[in-house]
């Protein structure tokens, strides 16, 4: 049982090693990647069940008892996140493989003669899962570095000008946040002489309040950047949308959530949910509103989604700020919801790009008739993001509002109000995008009555017409079109303008991509169907977070 802990982290790393050894054989790479993640998922599910039954599990690596050695700790919260993140990663991987085999060389590194996608993807998975179970501040830093370095590679894969620009700003901001984090660790160690989280929980309590607040502030800044909390969020919408669709999807699903996880962990475990609550509330409010206003202003689906991603980080921050059992339970549930819905939406956006060659709304149209299945796969998560009942977005929102209003006080009420406005504007942005991209007749074929593939389920069958790929693909991959900036500027050129042919082209969507997207969407819907048990689990996870003593005793034994 405990042994599964390091195993589930090591599996993807082992896979990465093997994919490197087999870097000439794409097929072998794919098999290895899928296998590694699938097995990892199994082990994590086993852990989750075990942990939910019998509390947190701890692995003292190298037999060196904490606090000297590194302890891997998994409580319910960590286990939940591990499972969800692996589900998402696996789905994205299948999606990517299907897209790759559908003939998308330039997309993720086949264009490079040194294919980096699979190793990088697996290494990122390693970093993510390690971050969730790191029981040690420095090891948490290392996990961040693992997933960040891998994410640099994934974001710039294919090396187009557009991605280099996006990748650079992403990389530099991440570097700064890592340095701040490292500095914070140095100061934590000099103040306490330990970096073990459980040990810190005890030692910080003995320090003067002011000193603790300084350390807390430093950590919050470091994690706030990663979680894209306004005003430290500008980097995200400028970088994410330019990556290949599957990469953006997995980033949107996981990376910011790792930051949120870190915030929750330190707030609850190290600082007992105390300190900067008001500040967090204001940050939540600003993040919500600025983010969603950004989304309203966008004319490109991927960018719009990136802004909604930021704005809904505000919800999570609100939950953390409320704290307490209700607040944390709602946050845990909302994190899971947010991971799944964002990934699903970006995967759907990738399908749109695959089908129409762009995600710029002004050049899209008639998708609902051209690809009904895609329409459904976009509509459900979109409504979910908009918090439309009975989907998980609504349930999570209810949980947050209940917690916020139960907490009492003016500020929480204000943030709740802001939350409703955000929710409404989210729906506004989504409905506008939906109306234009899916319902409005395509700019090209003005009279869309005779739009191609009008037959229901046209988007459904996954067989890829190779002939179609030949002419459609280059257009379908603006990224490969050389100078990305030039390719990017006309994005919002008026619909009448010389939009690329593919809008009218008959690209069939690869079945694997559709299946993977559908899978993620369905898991998201399952959050509603199984809301009862899941919210119960979230409640128990919140209970763990609310009682840090359990974590501490699990790691250090009875005091």
């Amino acid at each position: 049982m405990t042994a599964l802990l390091p195993v589930s982290v090591m599996l993807p790393l082992l896979g990465a090693g093997l994919t490197l050894v087999a870097r000439r054989a794409a097929g072998v790479q794919r098999v290895i990647s899928v296998l590694a993640l699938a097995v990892q998922l199994v082990t994590e599910c086993a852990m989750l069940i075990g942990i939910d039954a019998s509390g947190p599990i701890v692995m003292h690596l190298g037999g060196w008892a904490a606090p000297v050695g590194i302890a891997l700790v998994a409580d319910r919260f960590a286990a939940i996140l591990m499972v969800v993140s692996t589900v998402v990663t696996l789905g994205v991987l299948v999606y990517a493989i299907s897209q790759e085999t559908a003939g998308h060389p330039g997309w993720f590194g086949r264009g490079s003669s040194a294919p980096a996608f699979h190793p990088a993807m697996l290494i990122m998975a390693t970093g993510v899962s390690n971050a969730f179970v790191a029981g040690d501040l420095f090891n948490l830093f290392v996990s961040f570095e693992i997933l960040l370095t891998a994410s640099y590679v994934l974001l710039t894969v294919g090396g187009t000008a557009e991605r280099m620009r996006a990748g650079t700003s992403y990389l530099v901001v991440s570097l700064l946040s890592s340095l701040i984090f490292l500095a914070a660790i140095a100061l934590v160690y000099s103040a306490t002489g330990t970096v073990n989280l459980a040990d810190l929980a005890g030692r910080l309590a003995d320090l003067p309040r002011g000193l603790v607040s300084v350390l807390q502030a430093l950590l919050l800044v470091a994690f706030g950047i990663k979680a894209a909390v306004w005003p430290m969020s500008a980097w995200l919408p400028d970088s994410y949308p330019n990556a290949p669709a599957p990469v953006t999807a997995v980033f949107a699903g996981l990376l910011t959530k790792v930051g949120i996880y870190a915030i929750i962990r330190v707030q609850t475990l190290l600082f007992g949910g105390q300190g900067f609550v008001t500040l967090l509330m204001w940050a939540a409010l600003a993040t919500m509103l600025v983010g969603i206003l950004g989304a309203v202003a966008q004319g490109d689906i991927k960018r719009m989604l990136s802004f909604t991603l930021v704005s809904h980080i505000g919800y999570l921050l609100f939950g953390v700020a409320i704290g307490g059992h209700a607040g944390l339970a709602a946050t845990v549930y909302y994190v899971v919801h947010h991971i799944l819905v964002q990934t699903a939406l970006f995967l759907a956006a990738g399908l749109i790009e695959q089908l129409a060659g762009t995600t710029s709304v002004s050049r899209l149209g008639g998708l609902a008739t051209r690809a009904p299945l895609l329409a459904v796969l976009f509509f459900i998560p979109a409504m979910n993001l908009g918090g439309v009942p009975p989907l998980s977005g609504f349930l999570g929102k209810i949980g947050l509002f209940q917690a916020g209003l139960a907490a009492g006080g003016a500020l929480p009420a204000v943030v709740v109000a802001a939350g409703t406005v955000t929710s409404l504007l989210t729906l506004y942005a989504i409905v506008r995008i939906w109306g234009r991209a899916f319902w409005r007749p395509a700019p090209q074929d003005g009279d869309a009555e005779e739009a191609p593939d009008a037959a229901p389920g046209a988007g459904g069958d996954g067989d890829t017409a190779p002939a179609a790929n030949g002419d459609a693909m280059p257009a379908a991959v603006p990224a490969v079109g050389g100078d990305g900036i030039a390719a990017a500027t006309p994005r919002r050129a008026a619909g009448g303008g010389p939009a690329p042919a593919p809008v009218a082209s008959r690209v069939r969507l690869p079945g694997g991509m559709l299946a993977a997207t559908a899978a993620v969407v369905l898991v998201g819907v399952a959050l509603t169907a199984a809301a009862g048990p899941l919210y119960g689990l979230a409640g128990r996870a919140a209970d763990d977070l609310g009682h840090p003593a359990r974590y501490v005793t699990a790691v250090l034994g009875q005091p």
Binding site: F138, V142, E145, T149, Y152, V153, T156, G159, T160, A161, M164, R165, A166, G167, T168, S169, L171, V172, L175, L176, L179, L182, A183, I185, A186, L187, Y189, S190, D238, P241, A297, Q298, G299, D300, R303, V361, S362, V431, R432, G435, R436, D483, I485, A488, T489, R491, R492
Partner: protein
Amino acid sequence: MTGDAFLAGVIGVLFAAGVYLMVSRNLIRVLLGFLLVGHGTNLLLLAAGTWGAAPIVGESGGPAGEADPLPQAFVLTSIVITLAVCCFLLAMVFRSYQLTRRAELQTDPEDVLVEAGPGGAE
């Protein structure tokens, strides 16, 4: 443990110079700035531990006068990570130079578009 004036001073200088270089559009400057701030953090880590004889059992004069080995291990890790990131950053510098023929980063075109004005309501 005590704060070391000189060490603290040089840490400050490294951060200041590094940050100044990082806040730039020129990727090489950014890289150099990153390296300087990196040195700064490493020294900060080192300052987090007592200093003394090298922590090698039997060669140092016993645990009393030894430097704290844990921060050293942290610094080692951080050095290596810095190396890795630095190599990648170099590759990026070259790649963007190869594409744009300049070492300067451009503003995101989409944001320029947004500044141009809203895209009407549906």
